[in-house]
Symmetry: C6
Amino acid sequence: MADDVWLPSLKTATPQEGFDLAVKLARVGVKVTQPSAEVRSSLRAAYDHDTAQLIASSQVIAIHFQTVAAANNYWS
Amino acid sequence: MADDVWLPSLKTATPQEGFDLAVKLARVGVKVTQPSAEVRSSLRAAYDHDTAQLIASSQVIAIHFQTVAAANNYWS
Amino acid sequence: MADDVWLPSLKTATPQEGFDLAVKLARVGVKVTQPSAEVRSSLRAAYDHDTAQLIASSQVIAIHFQTVAAANNYWS
Amino acid sequence: MADDVWLPSLKTATPQEGFDLAVKLARVGVKVTQPSAEVRSSLRAAYDHDTAQLIASSQVIAIHFQTVAAANNYWS
Amino acid sequence: MADDVWLPSLKTATPQEGFDLAVKLARVGVKVTQPSAEVRSSLRAAYDHDTAQLIASSQVIAIHFQTVAAANNYWS
Amino acid sequence: MADDVWLPSLKTATPQEGFDLAVKLARVGVKVTQPSAEVRSSLRAAYDHDTAQLIASSQVIAIHFQTVAAANNYWS
């Protein structure tokens, strides 16, 4: 992670690209805690059929989307 | 998802349409984690009778509604 | 839901009416996920004696109250 | 609830009184979902020895304290 | 609690002291729900080895830190 | 903790360094509740293979990232 530039800016051209960025931020938040792609892949079945965890994932995206939207002045 | 424009703007005419948009954002947040409509449909019974998950869904909507309301300057 | 105007404005006369509106928003967030009043009614016993869910409900209200309070400039 | 004025203002003289108000708001959020004082009292043992629920209660207070603090311009 | 002044101000000299204040606010949020120091002490083993509760505690601190940071204009 | 300066500023050069700081803040929030590095290490296996806790960790990071991003005026 330390070597890559994966977050050069919070600015996006459209709200939809901002939402995509929020999804990315939520995923990176998981990666920093569990850096092994192999382990994350093996865990995937444990949550993508678990509605409680799907809702929780959606919540993390929502929090990041607040940040990205504010950074873009809500694309107004 | 990548091909459709589903979020052209955070602006809505009324608070109520803003709430509808918040509901949509919450649902898309689930879709990006579980893209299969078939799987999501099969999971539906698992949460729409589970009050804890209904409350959690309501919370995600609430977070998105904060964003949409701010984007619309609270429709003032 | 689509036919009714249930959210004409976020403005309220007093903080207390703003809190009532936050409660309403939290409840509508549940209704959009479980539209059946009959099912919601049957589920009621499952959560109104479950303190964890009562606290979770209070949290959703708190998030909406943030939005309503900001929309009213904190009634200052 | 409807008959009492329990929230005339979000303004408080000090941060500490603001925290007390946040505690009150969190409790009212539970009361509106479970209006029976008798039931709430009977449930009390179920959560005041459950650390997960104590932490969840603390979180609801934290969210309301954000609102009250903003309403008071952080008592600056 | 009512007799002590434990929160005279949200202002702190540094971000780090602001973080300490956020920790304090999170703990007071637990104390107001479970005022008995003896009970809280007996419960301690139930959560300080439970990672889910450690993460939840960290979340409450994060919410309070938002408030404290805003109150200090982010120490800029 | 009290002896080290670990949080001299919320300012970072880039959004990505801001995200790293959010990760750090989330971890310190756990450390203040469970100060023993030995215990934390022994607990690690309990959560880094538990997707619900990985998502919860990501959420705490998201909340702190809101704070750090605001402190940096979104690096605009």
